[in-house]
Structures are given as structure tokens and as C-alpha cells.
Amino acid sequence: MSTITYSDPAEHAGHPPLSHVRKVAMWAFLGSECLFFGSLISTFLLYRNRTGDGPTAADIFDVPFTSISSFILLMSSLTMVLGHYASERKDFRRMRVWLLATALLGMTFLAGQVFEFTEFVEHGLTVTTSPFGSSFFVLTSFHGGHVAIGVIMLLATAFMSFGGKLRPDGGMNIELVALYWHFVDIVWIVIFTVVYLLQV
């Protein structure tokens, strides 16, 4: 007598597949993150002109430099989607290359942000200088924190794959990491326009 084995016990119980539930959870999470970043962006907009004795956005923002950072993050979305495409094709070697490339681009973006923050502090803008400084640093730091978490997720996924711990049917994992990463990118699209370009 043969026995049917289910990789996902939930399917056996008549529930939706776990992959579907995870994806619903990720989209709901990203929807809630829109509200989270919306609150930080609106706080910045409220305080953008309250610079006190500190520097203004026009005094310190280096738009060409931030444009390059933005371009790097946009290109990381390209490498991410190519990694996702490779994982769907079961081309795991190429998938790992694209995942590592995405992590590298993410780390480059973070290095640019650290450099930018250092420059701002040297020019007299800190988190305590003015409401403008506080709202700017809180917003961009939270975004940077999201990028850092994304880099950790990318590296963890890549190294799990290297160690053979990424299940062959674990494509959903890559998809969830990809969704998170692209979301971080679209948040930056808004921040770059609203916080940088519209203020100079």
C-alpha cells in the first residue's frame, strides 16, 4: 500500500498552500510599510523649513551624489529580479551571482549614505540641530535600516543556497526577499524626489 506524502501539511488539511499564505502576509506587510514610511515622510514635510540656526536642505544636499546612490539602488532591483528569474528557471548558480550582486549594490548604497551623513554632520546638521535635521535623519536612517536588513536577507539566502540548505522548492523564499528588496527601492524613489529634489 502506497502512502501519499505532503510537503506542506496545510495543503492536506484543505487550507491554502503555505506559499500563498506567505505571499499574502508579505503583501500585507508591504502595505503596512507604506503607512510607516508615509508617517516619516509627512513628518519631514511638516518640519522641512524649521531649520533653526542649522543648515537648510539647499545648503547641504549634494544632488549629483545622491542621484548616483539612487541609480545604484535602482540597478540593484534589476539584479534582484534577474536573480528571481534565475531561481524560477532552477539556475541556482546564476541566482547566487545575482543575489550577491544585489547585496553588493545594497552595501554600496549604504556606504554612500554613511558618507553623506558624515558630510552633513561636518557641515553642522545633526539629529539634534533642528526639527529638519531630526526628521531627515530619522526618515533616511529607517530606510537605511531596511536596506541593511535586506542585505542580510540576501546574503543569508545566497549562503543557504551555497550550503545546500535552500530547498529546491524554496523559490518562494527568493520571491519574498525580492518583494521586500523592490519595496525598499520604491520607498527610496519617493524619498529621493520628495526629500532631495523638491527641497533644493
Binding site: W27, A28, L46
Partner: protein, 99 residues
């Protein structure tokens, strides 16, 4: 299966093409901020270009064009709620109370 799920999924060359468009739009955004002659048109231009980049990433890289409506709706709820809610907050603190 929905109509969206039946659409042919993009291939790598499509992704490269979209990345090229994203790069061009970013360059245009920066250029626009340096053209003084545009005057008051700069803000709407920048917002339109940011919206275009946002849509390209969400629709193509996040595959929302090809997904089931359930996923799209979950995201769109947050996307609509954020500007409505915080627009109200900005209006209250910026206009009614006076910042």
C-alpha cells in the same frame, strides 16, 4: 486564473529595458532641477517622473501586473491610505494649526 495571471511574464531583456528607462528617468529628474527656465513646472514634472519610476518597479519588477488581485489589493490599500491619512495630518498641522 485571472487575466493578469495569464499575461506573458517578462524575460531578462524586458528587465534590462526597464532598467534603462529607470536610469533615463533618474537622469531627467536631476536635469530638471537644474533648469531654472522651467519655474513652477519643476514640481509636477518631478512628481510625474517619480510616479512613473514607482509604477515601473511595482508593475514589472514586483510583478504586480501579473499577480492575483488579492496581492494587488493588499498593497494598494496601504498605498492609498498613506497619502490620504498623512495628507489629512499635514493639512491639520500645516494649515489648521499652523505648523
Amino acid at each position: 486564473m485571472t487575466e493578469a495571471a495569464h499575461r506573458p511574464h517578462p524575460r531578462p531583456r524586458d528587465y534590462w529595458a526597464i532598467a534603462l528607462v529607470l536610469g533615463v528617468i533618474t537622469a531627467a529628474e536631476v536635469t530638471v532641477t537644474y533648469i531654472d527656465a522651467l519655474g513652477g513646472a519643476v514640481v509636477p514634472l518631478l512628481l510625474v517622473m517619480a510616479a512613473a519610476k514607482f509604477w515601473l518597479v511595482v508593475a514589472w519588477f514586483m510583478h504586480l501586473r501579473f499577480e492575483e488581485p488579492l496581492y494587488r489589493n493588499l498593497f494598494v490599500i496601504g498605498l492609498i491610505a498613506a497619502p490620504v491619512l498623512f495628507g489629512a495630518v499635514l493639512f491639520t498641522f500645516g494649515v489648521l494649526i499652523g505648523g
